[in-house]
Symmetry: C7
Amino acid sequence: MALPLDVLEKSVNRRLSLLLKDGRTMEGRLSGFDEYMNLVLEDVEETKDDTKRRVGTIILRGNNVVSISLL
Amino acid sequence: MALPLDVLEKSVNRRLSLLLKDGRTMEGRLSGFDEYMNLVLEDVEETKDDTKRRVGTIILRGNNVVSISLL
Amino acid sequence: MALPLDVLEKSVNRRLSLLLKDGRTMEGRLSGFDEYMNLVLEDVEETKDDTKRRVGTIILRGNNVVSISLL
Amino acid sequence: MALPLDVLEKSVNRRLSLLLKDGRTMEGRLSGFDEYMNLVLEDVEETKDDTKRRVGTIILRGNNVVSISLL
Amino acid sequence: MALPLDVLEKSVNRRLSLLLKDGRTMEGRLSGFDEYMNLVLEDVEETKDDTKRRVGTIILRGNNVVSISLL
Amino acid sequence: MALPLDVLEKSVNRRLSLLLKDGRTMEGRLSGFDEYMNLVLEDVEETKDDTKRRVGTIILRGNNVVSISLL
Amino acid sequence: MALPLDVLEKSVNRRLSLLLKDGRTMEGRLSGFDEYMNLVLEDVEETKDDTKRRVGTIILRGNNVVSISLL
């Protein structure tokens, strides 16, 4: 069985797309995470209401994350 | 008695439909889960406001899940 | 005194009606539950905005449940 | 000092009125409760937007309860 | 330093005004509380949208309380 | 490194401005706090939608506090 | 792997931009944090609806933080 945190661990250094609770999406390379699914992403592009902006390195609180897609 | 996590365990590799708190639904094959009902789904089709899109492999935070239907 | 989980235990295999936080109701036979009031229901009929649909077996996260009525 | 759970314990078999987070009120006889203030009520009358309906025995999740009035 | 629970303890039998998350206010005499700031108030007057009503003895869940003013 | 609770401790008896989740601000002298960032403020002036009122001594639940500014 | 709290630790004394749940952003120098991602920022500039204001030293509750960008 694929445990969620194991899947995250295998995704380190790969690109992910996150959906946040406020509808924002973040696409970036996973640099690290912890047991609460707080995430560190690098080379991040944020999309909100069809507007994109680059935000470099970002720490995301796990409790704002709805879903994590492996790219 | 059918414990919720036991029912999930028996559903590994089967297709599920999830309803999320924001009204989105996700249909995919259950690849794994943990005690918080964080889920790993594969071959996922997401539906939002009658728009469908394929999202491959996805990790879902349990606290955004309203219900899980066995297909 | 009737403890909530004891009342649930006596309701296994009986039909229940659930009210969820998003206003949806679910009527089905209780197949199981856990200490967080996550529930497994079978033969479920979901009602939302006067639209009914059958959803078979469903796992419901306890933190989305407002109330559970014994039928 | 009157501890909240002690006040609830003395209210078993008495009628209460509950206010829920969604504005709904429930009036019924307290049959039991647990440490999370999950409650079991019997002979319940629910009021929502001036519409009343009888719902028999009900289990209420404590985290949806705003206040409990002793009648 | 005045710890919040110590201030509450000194306020037992005194009148308080509570602001709840839904904008409602409750004014009453503090009869007791617990470590979660669940409160028991007596001789309560509730105000909502400029409408007042008396509600006698009430148990309030701490997680719905925004602030407690000493009168 | 300045730990958040250490910064609060050094702020006892100083004036603070709090922003609450509902947009309200409270300005007052910090009288005490606990590990959950529940706060006791004295000589409080509350501002909501440009309306100010004095509220004396107040206990604030930490989970309604967005930010605390040192004045 | 870059753990979120380790990334924060390396960011002490550097400037960060925070996005809060209510859409507000805060830009300032990280002075400290704790395990809940409560943060202490100095020389803060807050932006809300295109209005900026300086707020000096601020303590932010971690559960209101959506994301932290390293500048």
